[in-house]
């Protein structure tokens, strides 16, 4: 029993820190809304009620969570390996496009879904490969290379969606065939979420229960010491990028093969953009841990799904959610924030 207690007492600090960052984010959101003359309480009630307490809303929350969880793993795994991998945005786009491209072949139903998933994952990993190679062989910082590749992916996908993969007369690309989509669980929630959770658990297992995972985390903790211990940092970083790419590619595939009613990419790419950067917040609040990321993705999925209800019923621009996400990330940059505040208060009272 004591081991149980010990195991979970280690969780209190990270959970408090994450909750504190969320509270700051929401507080700034409330403040901004109040300054702009909106009623924040009505807005947030609409947001959370529709996101978690209606069946349609909950299905869409979990559906967003599927994607956010995977891009969160991309970033979180990168952080564990000492990388700032913000390339999930581009890797997700090429993953989605690759899954759509599979629809141009004619394959038997079950196999088609499998091939689509594999293509999406490989495309994501392929897009992460130049970043990894440039980082390991040349020392190019991943922030610059990932952002450049995100934009290149954006224009490439725009070309493909409007060109070879365009479905004439519509506002989308060609669709995934009916019998090759992820089966729906309830409402609009597809079984892609099970695949995503499985992926998270596998990543958790690799990172915390295999030798490879220990090596990757050692490199992230202190590259120099890891090197002296006989670990090849380049190889560990390479694997960190590639697993991240697989996750982001799968996220793209999960959107086009698992989100009704379109099962396609919009011509302006509007349904596959924005996830990658939100994934940063998901990972940070999930403490860069695959299992933590699952829960944090559900929270952010709720913000994403509830923001439309908030806009429709409370007339608050849905971008307030992006502001909140930004503030959450900024406050997560200072893990010691709570400690600093506590020390300040203590210092004042003792005086």
């Amino acid at each position: 029993m004591s081991s149980f207690g010990e195991r979970f007492s280690g969780l209190t600090k990270p959970v408090t820190q994450s909750l504190f960052a969320i509270v700051i984010g929401l507080a700034v959101g409330v403040l901004l809304l109040a300054v702009w003359g909106y009623d924040p309480l009505v807005g947030f009630r609409q947001l959370f009620e529709s996101a978690f307490f209606t069946e349609i809303g909950l299905a869409s929350t979990l559906s967003y969570a599927t994607t956010l969880m995977l891009v969160g793993i991309t970033f979180g795994l990168g952080m564990r390996a000492g990388l700032f991998n913000i390339g999930a945005e581009g890797q997700l786009m090429v993953g989605a496009i690759a899954a759509v491209a599979v629809s141009t072949f004619s394959l038997p139903p079950g196999l088609h879904l499998l091939v689509g998933v594999i293509f999406a994952m490989l495309a994501g990993a392929l897009w992460a490969l130049p970043v990894a190679t440039l980082k390991v062989k040349k020392g190019v910082h991943e922030v610059v290379s990932t952002i450049m590749l995100n934009w290149i992916a954006f224009y490439l996908c725009l070309y493909l969606v409007l060109g070879p993969l365009y479905k004439a007369g519509t506002h989308t690309s060609i669709q995934i065939p009916q019998n090759s989509r992820f089966p729906l669980l309830f409402g609009t929630l597809s079984s892609a979420i099970l695949v995503a959770i499985l992926f998270a658990v596998i990543v958790y297992f690799i990172m915390w229960h295999t030798r490879l995972g220990v090596k990757i985390r050692a490199v992230g903790f202190d590259q120099e010491s890891a090197h002296y211990m006989g670990i090849n940092p380049g190889r560990a970083m390479m694997i960190g990028f590639i697993i991240g790419g697989l996750a982001a590619g799968l996220a793209g595939g999960a959107i086009v093969m698992g989100v009704p009613p379109d099962y396609a990419v919009f011509t302006e790419l509007s349904n596959i953009t924005g996830y990658g950067f939100a994934g940063i917040a998901v990972a940070l609040i999930g403490r860069n841990h695959p299992l933590g990321t699952i829960f944090s993705a559900i929270f952010f999925g709720g913000l994403w799904s509830g923001k439309r209800a908030m806009q429709i019923y409370a007339h608050i621009p849905l971008e307030i959610v992006d502001i909140i996400i930004g503030i959450i990330v900024i406050s997560a940059a200072i893990p010691e924030l709570l400690g600093i505040i506590r020390r300040k208060i203590k210092g004042r009272s003792s005086r």
């Binding site: 901004l32 702009w36 700032f84 913000i86 440039l134 040349k138 020392g139 190019v140 910082h141 922030v143 610059v144 290379s145 952002i147 450049m148 590749l149 995100n150 934009w151 290149i152 224009y155 490439l156 725009l158 070309y159 409007l162 060109g163 950067f277 939100a278 940063i280 917040a281 940070l284 621009p317 971008e319 307030i320 959610v321 992006d322 502001i323 909140i324 996400i325 930004g326 503030i327 959450i328 990330v329 900024i330 406050s331 997560a332 940059a333 200072i334 893990p335 010691e336 924030l337 600093i340």
Partner: protein, 336 residues
């Protein structure tokens, strides 16, 4: 050692002159083929000013030891703030001031987080980018209509008139700024302290200079230049504000910083190079002789030019660059 230094300088000059001659020859060939070369140069200069201002500001910031990847967000915030200020006051000068203030405030927050609270600078910077994307979209929505706001006619900043079209006042300003920063870096005590703060903050601290304040000021200065650049972009260059106006230029400016090896003049050179790539991608699409040749949809590949060029350029120069030892690491004074 002095000799090696001289050889290095000379090689740099020779390379620069060869590059310049190559560019001039290409321009002459293009001009004789009947292409609109002056318009290409004018677009490139605008793009150069934007990247240059952001890059030299970040050079100062990184020399002092702090990294700010929130430049993209600062560009976005200040481009919105500048249009907001101009529309409300009816004067572009106040707009530019408001844009710069947006830069100062963001720089202050980033500086406090990364220098005093010892937070993670990269995460803080990325948070600024995310916040800016949300805030500007929210601001445009609540102030005007969702999406885009065009600057009201008559409020644009005046330009220097030249035979080839208007030249922005920011072009000479950027060049003067660059030279001034070069001078401060290498000829003044403050420049020495600033550079030392990035290399060995402990030594600067021991000499009695407040490292924290020095770094904070450098961080605010860099963000202010980015704020000016954002104001330039929305008021002087494109005359509008949208929620995705910088389109990765903040990160291209970071690439300029890497490319320059933290030398202000080289940073401006890199900005000219990347600005030219951007000008090229805008210009090609408007060349009458090329329009029939470009296959439909191919313009997307032309749009990739600046990003691909940045990636290639950074890959080629990296490894030959040396960065300050303590860059990106918060300075902790040892407890007494």
């Amino acid at each position: 050692m002095t000799n090696a230094f001289r050889v290095k300088i000379r090689r740099k000059w020779v390379l620069g002159i060869i590059l310049l001659m190559g560019v001039v020859i290409i321009f002459c060939v293009m001009h004789s083929a009947g292409l609109e070369v002056p318009s290409l140069i004018m677009i490139s200069l605008d793009a150069m000013v934007l990247l240059g201002l952001v890059a030299i500001g970040e050079v100062v910031n990184e020399r002092a030891g702090t990294v700010n990847i929130g430049l993209e967000g600062i560009l976005l915030l200040s481009s919105f703030a500048a249009v907001f200020g101009t529309e409300r006051s009816g004067s572009w000068a106040i707009g530019i001031f408001v844009g710069a203030v947006a830069g100062v405030l963001t720089g202050l927050i980033h500086g406090l987080i990364s220098i005093y609270a010892k937070g993670d600078q990269i995460i803080s910077g990325m948070g600024i980018n995310l916040f800016a994307a949300g805030f500007v979209a929210f601001g445009i929505w609540t102030t005007w209509v969702p999406g885009v706001h065009m600057l009201s006619p008559g409020l644009e900043m005046p330009r220097i008139s030249t035979p080839w079209g208007g030249l922005s006042w920011f072009v000479p300003i950027t060049i003067v700024f660059t030279l001034a920063i070069h001078f401060v870096f290498y000829k003044t005590t403050w420049g020495v302290r600033l550079r030392a703060a990035g290399e060995n903050p402990g030594a600067v601290d021991a000499s009695g200079v407040n490292v924290f304040r020095l770094r904070l000021l450098a961080c605010i200065f860099g963000a202010t230049l980015a704020g000016l650049a954002g104001a330039f972009m929305s008021l002087d260059w494109v005359g509008m504000t949208t929620k995705a106006l910088p389109a990765g230029r903040g990160f291209i400016a970071l690439a300029c910083v890497v490319f320059s090896g933290l030398e202000p003049i080289s940073a401006l050179g890199a900005a000219a190079l990347f600005g030219f790539c951007e000008g090229l991608s805008t210009w090609i699409k408007a060349v009458p002789q090329l329009i029939p040749i470009i296959p439909p949809g191919f313009d997307k590949f032309i749009m990739m030019i600046p990003y691909i060029a940045t990636l290639v350029a950074v890959t080629v120069v990296i490894g030959r660059r040396r960065f300050p030892k303590s860059v990106g690491r918060p300075y902790r004074r040892e407890e007494i």
